[in-house]
């Protein structure tokens, strides 16, 4: 199981993947926005997206959980 956490304060702009999706290492899960920049959050392992902890429009803090890959 691998947790994906936020590297910085940001807004969740787009949720690209959905719970239950099969994802591969490098796939975009969500796209964050901070300081006028889009930051794709990528899967760092392959597996099933067991949990997606954010929704579009959320404001997240550094270290917040974004997703869990099984």
């Amino acid at each position: 199981m691998s947790e994906v956490r936020a590297e910085m304060v940001a807004n969740v702009w787009k949720v690209v993947a959905a719970e239950g999706d099969t994802v591969a290492d490098g796939d975009t899960l969500v796209i964050l926005e901070s300081m006028k920049m889009e930051i794709p959050v990528l899967a760092e392992t392959s597996g099933t997206l067991a949990r997606l902890a954010v929704a579009e429009g959320d404001v997240i803090q550094e270290g917040d959980l974004i997703a869990v890959i099984d």
Binding site: V9, S34, I39
Partner: protein
């Protein structure tokens, strides 16, 4: 001279405009969002008005709230800075309809240059060189692929309503065009409210060099030197210098003449910047876009000419002569600007946070245009620019030496900054040689190259 000015912006550029207003005895009014109440520009102004919550759409992009603040404070003029509403022709028109002085070009000039397709077509007709590209909006992928056959690869997919490198994607072959086209359209819609796309031939390796112009009150256009902006990450500038080490006297003369022609074509007034892509191997240049406002990197031009560009904006907006003799303008020495961003210095990811220590450098030839001070919080709502560290030297070698010392002495703690990137840039053989192009940053920081 104007009696008072409202600055419709924030951070370092608001402080910059207020400084000139103070020097000239012009009363200044700041407007600020709830996120910015503690920033230096709010305290620096003679008066300050809270115009809304942190979200830009509700504050710095809220024309109604800004005009209400102008009425409330009796401000005579509006200076838009850069970004936000600076290139919004309907805001410029509403400032004028409210009986206020707009410190910028006419709404018509802004609109003519704001649509990148229209601007390209206008420039082509005026004899300003443009890269091969589409002359109308590209509406679907099929049209894009067909147009690309004519233009040739590599090419750039650009938002017609865009600018400043936002929403731009390169495509080296049809597969990349297919992959990037819809993304570019949706981003153009999201960022600029207009999905129109243009395709333009991309030249690589190239330098990005721009020319500062001033449209005088009587309609005469002056070109006052170039700035090299080839040090870019994600198509956005990180460091600039003047004169450009890649532009010789002949090329410079041709670029300045083309910039004057561009200004004349749209009957330009005030400070503006004409951006070109320079094909170094061919000794040739092409029009990219015109920024119809004060440019972020204007300080390097000020350092080598001794001209305060904001003062000239005030004078021209008031219908007066500029403060210098236009036939006696000369360039002295060399100047660099390093943009200090709240971002990590390896991958350039944003790093909002609270500034603990802020110890800026000083010394001969050093100028700092800062937006923040110790104790301020840098929020995720706005761009990551903390300060512009500028240096002036008798020649490029002296400017580089002063820049190295200044970067080394600048201490910021509490959040990540790109100061280490600037230290590495100034040490790199490629930058020091002056023989560099727009892909320099990707060579210095391969891990930062865009994944899309």
């Amino acid at each position: 001279m104007l009696e008072s000015v409202l600055v419709a912006n924030r951070g370092e550029i608001a402080s910059r405009v207020i400084a000139t207003a103070r020097r000239l005895g012009v009363r200044s009014v700041a407007v600020y969002s709830a996120a910015d109440a503690d920033l230096p520009f709010v305290a620096a102004a003679d008066e300050a008005v809270l115009i809304g919550p942190p979200q830009p759409a509700a504050s710095y992009l809220n024309g109604e709230a800004i005009l209400a603040a102008a009425r409330q404070t009796g401000a005579q003029a509006v200076h838009p800075g850069y970004g936000f509403l600076a290139e919004n022709s309907s805001f410029a028109a509403s400032v004028r309809s409210a009986g206020l002085v707009w410190i910028g070009p006419s709404p018509r000039s802004i609109a003519q240059m704001g649509d990148k397709i229209n601007a390209r077509n206008l420039m082509e007709r005026a004899g300003v060189p443009v890269a091969a590209g589409t002359r109308e909006s590209v509406v679907d992928l099929q049209a894009a692929l067909a147009a690309a056959e004519q233009i040739g690869y590599p090419l750039m997919i650009k938002a017609a309503a865009g600018g400043g490198g936002i929403g731009m994607t390169a495509a080296a072959h049809p597969d990349q065009l297919a992959a990037g086209f819809e993304t570019a359209r949706s981003r153009a819609e999201r960022f600029f409210g207009d999905p129109a796309i243009l395709l333009e031939r991309y030249v690589e390796p190239a330098r990005h060099v721009e020319v500062q112009i001033l449209g005088l009150a009587d309609g005469k256009i002056l070109a006052i030197g170039e700035r090299d902006c080839s040090v870019q990450r994600r198509h956005q500038k990180v460091a600039e210098e003047t004169p450009s080490p890649g532009v010789g006297a002949d090329l410079r003369a041709r670029m300045l003449a083309a910039a004057v022609r561009a200004g004349e074509t749209v009957d330009y007034r005030g400070a503006g910047t004409v951006e070109f892509l320079v094909d170094v191997a061919a000794g040739d240049f092409m029009f990219l876009e015109m920024n119809t406002r004060l440019q972020v990197e204007h300080p390097v031009t000020e350092l080598v000419t001794g001209v305060d560009l904001v003062e000239q904006q005030f004078l021209i907006a008031a219908g007066q002569d500029v403060s210098f003799a236009s036939d006696a303008l000369s360039v002295t020495g060399h100047a660099l600007e390093l943009r200090v961003y709240a971002e990590d210095s390896q991958r350039f990811l944003p790093s909002p946070g609270t500034i603990e220590e802020w110890s800026p450098p000083s010394g001969p030839g050093v100028r700092l245009d800062a937006g923040y001070a110790a104790g301020n919080t840098v929020t995720p709502f706005y761009d990551p620019l903390l300060a512009k560290l500028c240096v002036h030297g008798a020649d490029r070698a002296e400017a580089l030496a002063r820049a190295r010392a200044a970067v080394g002495a600048f201490r910021i703690t509490g959040l990540k900054t790109n100061l280490q990137f600037h230290a590495d840039l100034l040490e790199s053989a490629e930058f020091r040689s002056g023989d560099y192009d727009t892909s320099l940053v990707n060579r210095l920081r391969p891990a930062s190259a865009p994944s899309r």
